[in-house]
Subunit: 138 residues, 3 copies
Amino acid sequence: MKTFSFQLKTPARTAFIDITSIIQEVVNNNRYESGIITVFTPHTTAGITINENADPDVKHDLDYKINALIPKEDPAYTHYEGNSDSHLKSSLFSPFLTLIFENKRCILGMWQAVYFCEFDGPRTRTVYIKILPDTPNS
Amino acid sequence: MKTFSFQLKTPARTAFIDITSIIQEVVNNNRYESGIITVFTPHTTAGITINENADPDVKHDLDYKINALIPKEDPAYTHYEGNSDSHLKSSLFSPFLTLIFENKRCILGMWQAVYFCEFDGPRTRTVYIKILPDTPNS
Amino acid sequence: MKTFSFQLKTPARTAFIDITSIIQEVVNNNRYESGIITVFTPHTTAGITINENADPDVKHDLDYKINALIPKEDPAYTHYEGNSDSHLKSSLFSPFLTLIFENKRCILGMWQAVYFCEFDGPRTRTVYIKILPDTPNS
């Protein structure tokens, strides 16, 4: 199957957007029973991560603490676009993720969701999803 | 081959536990010669990482410094469970890892080990391991 | 195809070295049309990341800020080699990366490059690249 892609609009400079159901739908729509899923975003100021799907305070605290560690403003930054913090957050959260699927279900913990991480929005962003089977006849 | 899983008990709130030999054993027990290994943990306050296998002081310093950067207590945290630091560490270390294997051996540097990272223990934790061959007849 | 590897010499204690063209060349030289690429470095004081390929100030700011957060010197470090900062940076940037390729082209954003991250150089370092097809006949 060709690489699947979709776009999303992010609402703010920093945001965590749940994309778990989109990934599961791609797994549903391909013919493989089991294998791995690569999720990749082609942006240098965004990321893909896994974190808690229940209490929204977790997203708040992730956002608060990463911004406290890596603030937008720092007099020593030299990059003219004013988003050096976003670039570092992108490398630390990383713009890709691998999941395992079995019997056509993503293996995720009961509290896990996959999030698109916006670090320099609001923008329109792209995500790619690639499915590989564990065996050709799986 | 179906996804392999195992459980481990972690000894403390934060700990790095060497799981390299378990991963190599899964490679030994499947029929493929070469490919990639996905290691995944279904928890939002844990991670999987690679670091030094020799001097235990490295683990000590990793633990010391990440806790200094992201302490358990911060008056600005809002999550009621008191483990917001654990969630952020999980996203930064990430709950998965990919390794390459060739001739039935994990490719790892002589100083590298794979560690399960506990950031909110002690608990019983699960790890999944999925093997994909590089070619169907490999 | 066997795992491809190459070596590079890093110029300084910390450096980001663009290896994108080497990865694309490995894709060009294998017979598969589409799939995923695993890039892995077998060192515990280095990493692989994706970030901006245009303004060199971004690399400068990444280097500045990660060193400000995790400085080389800290009186609480216990590891005798004096590179505990390098080990933590390696775990946070991670020593591996997954890319998708389609029609024999790595999927990367127009501003994205893949960087080898040196955190304890200058040294001679090794990188492994493994290609997996999405289907055996792709």
